[in-house]
Symmetry: C2
Subunit: 168 residues, 2 copies
């Protein structure tokens, strides 16, 4: 049993390490940009950095209820950064407000992620019914982490374009 | 034993499903763009679509030796699309050549991925020594898939900017 438990812990560790890596990259990119750069469009006519930052925070915030960790911290972000596109006319928080919100969401999410047991990671996430989960056991909490890491990577590839000397 | 083996298989399935999803997205984005669009810069002064497509093919091709599946199919891509930046002056394959190469690399990679046993996925990849692997067992073949899916997501977030009406 010992070895088997270790293997399960190992792949949970692999998934969370990739998630942590993307979050570190997000913070690195954010701190490489000033507020003026963040407010610009990533390419002509495309989303602004502010929108993408708000979008990533809103998606991470939504992971709290999805993973059974509690309520969203900033439910108002959903309308501005998920349900509606950029330049919707809705009031957008300032970059410094967004950075504070990111810190809070990330702290709460990390605290919970660190305390989930191996068995819990393979239990269903909150957007799948018990019935569906029986047929589709891959729709578990750990799979949410795999998916959201990729979602973050996708938008980090865009945010990095706001750096002056980056072609990456 | 039955249940435990199933859990391991489930985890492998989750990781490969995300990889497949990114590859499908890559193909979808590619087929939504004409050659002229692909040859453009994703944003002023940044990489061209051609470079990013070549880069993604080269990285996938390099997974063949890394995962112990055999030699690279197109080792010449490494110099043009990995070791050197865009606009290096090196001869670049045409978009239609790149699309053919993508098809070959993806077919060979997929064929091998489908045949790896669960135990093999948790064995070391070819860029880590046996000694290091003993200390860092997360540096296994499956972890390469997790990492490369995120790498592909990152650049797909950029390629999609070449679509006329996309702000995503």
């Amino acid at each position: 049993m010992e070895t088997i438990e270790t293997e399960k812990e190992l792949f949970i560790k692999m998934v969370i390490a990739e998630w942590d890596k993307q979050n570190n990259n997000f913070n690195k990119i954010l701190s490489s940009l000033n507020d003026d750069q963040i407010s610009k469009e990533i390419a002509p006519g495309k989303n602004t950095g502010t929108y993408l930052v708000g979008h990533l925070i809103a998606i991470s915030d939504a992971m709290l209820p999805l993973l059974g960790f509690g309520e969203k911290l900033f439910p108002q972000l959903d309308s501005v950064f998920v349900k509606n596109p950029d330049k919707s006319g809705l009031k957008i928080p300032s970059v410094s407000e967004l950075k504070e919100q990111l810190k809070s969401v990330h702290a709460k999410l990390t605290e919970h992620i660190r305390s989930v047991s191996p068995a819990e990671w393979f239990s269903r996430h909150m957007a799948v019914s018990e019935e569906d989960f029986e047929r589709e056991p891959h729709r578990n909490k750990l799979n949410v982490i795999i998916n959201r890491a990729n979602h973050m990577s996708y938008h980090l590839g865009q945010l990095v374009l706001l750096q002056d000397n980056s072609r990456k």
